[in-house]
Amino acid sequence: MSAKIRKIVTVVEETVTEMGRPVTPPTRRAAAVAVIENPFAGRYVDDLTELFEIGEELGGLLAEKAVAALGIDGPAAESYGKAAAVGENGELEHAAAILHPKLGTPVRKVLGKGAALIPSSKKRGGPGVALDIPLGHKDAAYVRSHFDGMEVRIADAPRAGEIVVAVAVTDSGRPLPRVGGLKTSEIKGEDGLR
């Protein structure tokens, strides 16, 4: 069973100055977002396997789109995140079924590595609802300069029987990070944490 996609949206944000100071190189983050039909809208279904498969398909597709939008090779990505918003005729568990069982592996394949957990958020909402996609370093979750979030919204989605699925990728951390913590230069990259 493959995803029935109505639209795909990519967003690239590039910050070149912050508080009047140059950000060198500019920080860049991209989100690729798919609007899909929710096969279980309007009814309770116990077995959500179909959504696991859809998550697997979208993980690779959206990671590729996000990396392409940044114009980088997958391994050059530094942080990532994922999120889903379920339309009103679906349940939160549908978002979980897409995001958690199978979406991560193809994302990591596109990015070369990805020892860290992919941070996620989910919600139920109507068209235009904002998704705040949490971001964390892909190889070491404790890298403090890369704790971030990216807001995206699709004006006409999710409709009641749809799900909005987003994967975000960056080639950088926050602009002008200066709150200490583990640095990218100190990553061991073994346990996904440090």
Binding site: I5, R6, K7, I8, V9, T10, V11, V12, E13, E14, T15, V16, T17, E18, G20, A69, G128, A130, M150, E151, R153, A155
Partner: protein, 194 residues
Amino acid sequence: MPEVEIRKRLVTVEEIFHEGGPPAATPLRRGAIIAVIRNPFAGRYVEEIAGFMDDLKPLGLAMAQQLIQALGGDPKAIQGYGKGAIVGAAGELEHGALWHVPGGYAMREALGGAKAIVASAKKVGGPGARLDVPVTHIDASYVRSHFDAMEVGVPDGPKADEIALVLVMTTGARIHARVGGLKASEIKGEDGLR
């Protein structure tokens, strides 16, 4: 006139496959580029502002070209356009009007001489404000299939002393256009209207 100071750029591309009807042979693409710049006139009334339009021309052209690239790189594929501005709360609506000339002419130049007036919308708003940017056919304003709009916004802008400048382009008609009127195939292309 003051230098143009950019804080960030956002590029959004929507790829629309269907909206509940038959999937189109060629998906519709809609793209928006936003530059968040410092408003040099924020916080006070300045009588002579028109010179800033010239300063914005290079930015307009660079934005138009970047947007064409994001939509695939072929200027001939662009069929609809629109523009807009969101002025931060310490500015006035008139500052948004500075974008009419540099934004509009930049797109016409980048597209090789489009004839129709560039539809526009502007407002004063805070960070996260949304703007519905109207879209019409690039050569004939009356083409009914190409009347469209794209909602855009910047999650963290414009700040009070900023302006978000927006250009929008599309690659075709609404995905299931079927309400008659002047067709793109019937354009005379002389007066920019029909």
